[in-house]
């Protein structure tokens, strides 16, 4: 089962930290891939928070196509980052790994944030589509203050390959996933964390309800609900659908993906609401077993799982630094000095929410709150 490591902090931290946490959980991933999603960027991106960052991988030809396309669409490069690659045995180097901050096209200077988000999504999808057949262009995210790195291989080896230890890349929220390849062939688009318009999640466990959920999302008429090289991508899209598209508060994510039983709903004051949600979004019930860790555009991090997740994930830390991990040893690696009695092992009704800046951690209970 894949291993998940997220750290949210009031201080900028290196992506190495969650990767080292993944290393402590190594028995659970087979080194078939690493994905890192960083939010609230520091280092060389600290002064570029309003500029969308395009993260991806290209062949030489693909890079030219990207440059040409972005120029044609009116995007201008504000800042460009590329890792200092070190050859590592077992990792096949591709031509270009990059994260580039762009200035919006002039026509978009006065547009709303929502319109800008739609432009960024459309651009990412078009780039993806242009390079999909020959894998000349692979893009993971295009959004302000968010950066993604993914590659096939062992996480620790990849961190060396990307030179992350010496890199100036930093962020206040870093999610990393060590992949245990199961259902699908190794494909970078199947590598967590997944991202769409400010929302990102990573998951472990098999999503047995994948096909009906995928079909339901794809039939919502939203351009971004595509891809699905991994069954876990739907968790990110459900989050986006509920919070951004429908405007629901985050807690309803739990209510939709793991709805209460009818007998439990009956006892709640808001039973009318929950009953409507459960019936209307029956197709989005995940049916697990899954543990989901994610963040929202506002920087809130969360962990949630379903009742079939027999070994829960864990959240632990101190004010200003919390780790959300699939295993306890990962939390020990990330925040060794903490009050362990306050560690949280969320149960089937719980959703652990860490506020932006790791200020506060709360356990929201689906049954009572």
């Amino acid at each position: 089962m894949c291993r998940l490591a997220a750290i949210t902090s009031s201080e900028y931290l290196s992506p190495m930290e969650p990767i080292l946490a993944l290393e402590t959980m190594k028995e659970g991933h087979d080194g078939s891939g690493l994905g890192v999603m960083m939010k609230d960027l520091g280092g060389e991106f600290e002064g570029l928070k309003d500029f969308p960052v395009l993260s991806g991988i290209c062949s030489n030809a693909g890079m030219e196509v990207v440059d040409e396309y972005m120029e044609k669409k009116g995007f201008t490069v504000k800042h460009s980052w590329a890792p200092s690659i070190r050859e590592v045995k077992g990792v096949t180097r591709r031509d270009h790994y990059f994260a580039r901050a762009y200035e919006y096209p002039a026509a978009y200077s006065d547009k709303s944030a929502r319109e800008k988000e739609d432009l960024l999504l459309k651009t990412r999808l078009e780039l993806r589509s242009m390079g999909q057949a020959d894998e000349s262009i692979i893009v993971f995210s295009f959004y302000p203050d968010v950066l993604a790195i993914k590659e096939v291989g062992d996480p620790l080896q990849l961190s060396e390959f990307f030179g992350l230890e010496d890199s100036s890349l930093k962020a206040k929220v870093v999610m990393a996933q060590g992949r245990q390849n199961t259902n699908y062939a190794i494909n970078l688009y199947a590598c967590h964390p997944f991202f769409i318009q400010g929302f990102s999640t990573m998951t472990n466990g098999e999503n047995t309800a994948f096909v009906p959920i995928r079909e339901y999302l794809m039939s919502r008429g939203f351009q971004g609900y595509v891809g699905y090289n991994s069954d876990s991508e739907v968790f990110t899209h459900i989050l986006h659908y509920l919070v951004r598209q429908l405007g629901y508060p985050l807690s309803y994510y739990k209510h939709v993906i793991t709805p209460l039983k009818s007998s439990e709903i009956e006892k709640r004051e808001d039973r009318d609401v929950l009953d409507l949600l459960k019936k209307s979004m029956r197709m989005l019930c995940i049916d697990g077993p899954n543990c989901i860790i994610g963040f929202t555009p506002g920087g809130t991090c969360f962990m949630v799982q379903d009742s079939k997740k027999l070994r829960p994930g864990m959240v632990g830390g101190v004010k200003g630094r919390y780790a959300l991990m699939s295993e306890e040893c990962g939390v020990d690696s990330a925040v060794p000095a903490r009050d362990r009695s306050k560690d949280i092992f969320p149960m089937k009704y719980d959703m652990v929410v860490v506020s932006p800046g790791a200020e506060e951690v709360t356990v929201w209970n689906q049954l009572h709150d």
């Binding site: 009906p212 339901y216 039939s219 409507l276 949600l277 029956r282 197709m283 379903d306």
Partner: protein
């Protein structure tokens, strides 16, 4: 010497033309006469035969003949009294001296048209081959990728929704202080029932005998009240017993209105006295067993009770026309009728149409998809049963349910309405006894629920009927099991308590088996509607047609 007239058998049928040939054992028969008395079609009769024995004693042949009178049980060769193979004779024989044997070489259909009267019968399509449903396999098993569920220990929620589910975009919700609240503001929220995904399909009081209908109703009520399983049953056309209409148990029943509108006068009059709403209203436009054909309750079935419930005189043929004669278009038939029926219960009851499986199902579906009051669509495939129909309709008309339901589901997926408009699949569910497997397969192809009819008669009341045309006498009112008859001499054979017990057995077993299917596939919280990746079939063309995997 036999007279010439006795040798001219040219205009008689030989037993070889008959579908079943009676095997009678002289050595075992004690001539009690039970078999000939019980035979519902008088295919056998006691007969007197003369046996001539020639004997010779001594070294020189000196033959002497003796004539002896003996009594035998004889099968007649009158096509209208053909042996149906029901086997009631075997059932009553104390000495196991008689049984019908299937004659696969029969030419029955060549001759069952005497007097220009086309063959009519009950039952379902006479096709014993393995149906598509029985060829579907569940091949996506979670094992090491994640621990499979334990069907015996995990909590399973095998429930479905009957009624139109508003899409999330149209829910009457608004956010207030970080919480969602209901803000109806004129938005119509359709009624939705949570039910068990296997329903008992429409079989009327009238078509069924009083103990059969009562047994089903008692079984359903027990399942709801005692077992906590929300199984519902459809009334069929012909109303319901008035006391039931006014009882708290009405909520377990789907009331059907069909083209004859039988029973609806009584239902409408009972409306002010109803203490519960019915589960739903089913508008019958078609039946899988006899698409495009109407119904007929023969006069001899219209006895006092039936006449009262249906609001008609006794002993008259009750014909339901093939179509709703008061409607002239799909707009009329579907939209107005759904609205009228919804209005009768103050829009608190889901109203849905039932059609026979057909290539045009998607046209109906798309009409319903745009109708905010349509609660579901029930599609009855060609393997559905009936109490009476022309053999040609049953055998040759109709559409298999598997691809019909799949096409409709995928059509809804294209429109994003796969949860909005539930599909109910019927027709051949449990044809070979695999109720849970057939139901699960249809659900994974896209059905929200399935409906059973013939299967429950076979399993709960030992209906003899099968796809070798055994028995299938439902239309004649002479059902030897007492299931489809209004003759007290016949229906007193059936104990309603035993039927109810069997109904409960069937649903509890199906529930266990559904868990046994869903658990290894990792599904327990929600019904795996449209989980087509869980299915495979060992036929390439079928897999392509159904958009599922091919496995061999």
């Amino acid at each position: 010497m036999e007279p010439a007239s006795r040798l001219d058998h040219n205009h008689q049928l030989s037993l070889k033309e008959f579908p079943y040939i009676i095997r009678w054992r002289d050595d075992r028969c004690k001539r009690c006469g039970r078999c000939t008395a019980v035979c519902p079609v008088k295919a056998i009769e006691p007969s007197i035969k003369v046996l001539r024995t020639v004997t010779s004693e001594g070294p020189v042949p000196e033959p002497t003949s003796t004539r002896k009178i003996t009594y035998v049980v004889e099968q007649v060769t009158d096509i209208n009294r053909y042996c149906t193979g029901c086997g009631t004779c075997t059932l009553v024989c104390p000495n196991e001296a008689i049984e019908p044997e299937l004659n696969p070489q029969n030419k029955f259909l060549h001759f069952k048209n005497k007097g220009g009267d086309a063959y009519k019968r009950g039952g379902r399509r006479n096709d014993p081959s393995i149906s598509t449903l029985d060829r579907l396999k569940f091949t996506r098993i979670s094992m090491l990728t994640d621990p499979a569920l334990d069907a015996g220990r995990h909590e399973f929620r095998i429930r479905t929704l009957l009624g139109r589910n508003l899409p999330p975009e149209q829910l009457p919700l608004k956010e207030v202080g970080g919480k969602l609240v209901v803000d109806r503001d004129g938005i119509f929220v359709p009624p939705v029932r949570e039910i068990y995904p296997i329903m008992i399909g429409s079989m009327s009081v009238g078509a069924l005998s009083p103990p059969m209908w009562e047994g089903l109703a008692m079984g359903v009520t027990y399942l709801n009240e005692v077992e906590g399983m929300p199984v519902v049953m459809c009334s069929g056309e012909g109303g319901m017993p008035p006391r039931l209409l006014k009882s708290k148990f009405l909520k377990y029943f789907v009331l059907q209105i069909a083209s004859g509108y039988f029973g609806w006068d009584e239902i409408i009059h009972a409306l002010p006295d109803m203490v519960e709403d019915p589960c739903a209203i089913e508008i019958k436009y078609g039946q899988g067993a006899k698409p495009g054909d109407g119904g007929l309750l023969m006069a001899y079935k219209v006895l006092k009770l039936i006449a009262e419930i249906r609001g008609v005189p006794m002993m008259v043929d009750l014909a339901s026309p093939p179509t709703h004669q008061t409607k002239y278009s799909i707009e009329e038939a579907v939209a107005k009728m759904i609205q009228s029926m919804s209005m009768a219960w103050g829009f608190r009851v889901p109203v849905y149409p039932k059609i026979s499986g057909t290539k045009t199902a998607q046209a109906v579906l798309n009409n319903l998809a745009r109708n905010p009051y349509a609660a579901a669509l029930s599609i009855d495939g060609e393997d559905g049963g009936t109490g009476a129909a022309y053999n040609v309709s049953m055998d040759k008309m109709g559409h298999p349910i598997a691809s019909n339901i799949r096409d409709c589901y995928l059509d809804l997926v294209k429109q994003g309405k796969q949860n909005e408009l539930p599909l109910i699949a019927a027709g051949g569910v449990g044809k070979k006894g695999n109720l849970a497997a057939n139901a699960a397969a249809l659900i994974m192809l896209g059905a929200s629920a399935v409906s059973i009819g013939k299967y429950i008669m076979q399993t709960a009341a030992q209906c003899f009927g099968d796809e070798y045309n055994r028995c299938n006498l439902c239309n004649t009112g002479r059902c030897p099991r007492g299931i489809t008859t209004q003759d007290p001499k016949l229906y007193r054979r059936l104990d309603p308590d035993k039927v109810a017990e069997r109904v409960v057995d069937v649903f509890k077993t199906a529930d266990t088996e559904l868990r046994k299917i869903f658990a290894p596939m990792g599904r327990s919280t929600e019904l795996p509607i449209g989980m087509s990746d869980g299915l495979s079939i060992g036929d390439k063309e079928m897999s392509e047609r159904l958009h599922i995997d091919y496995a061999c």
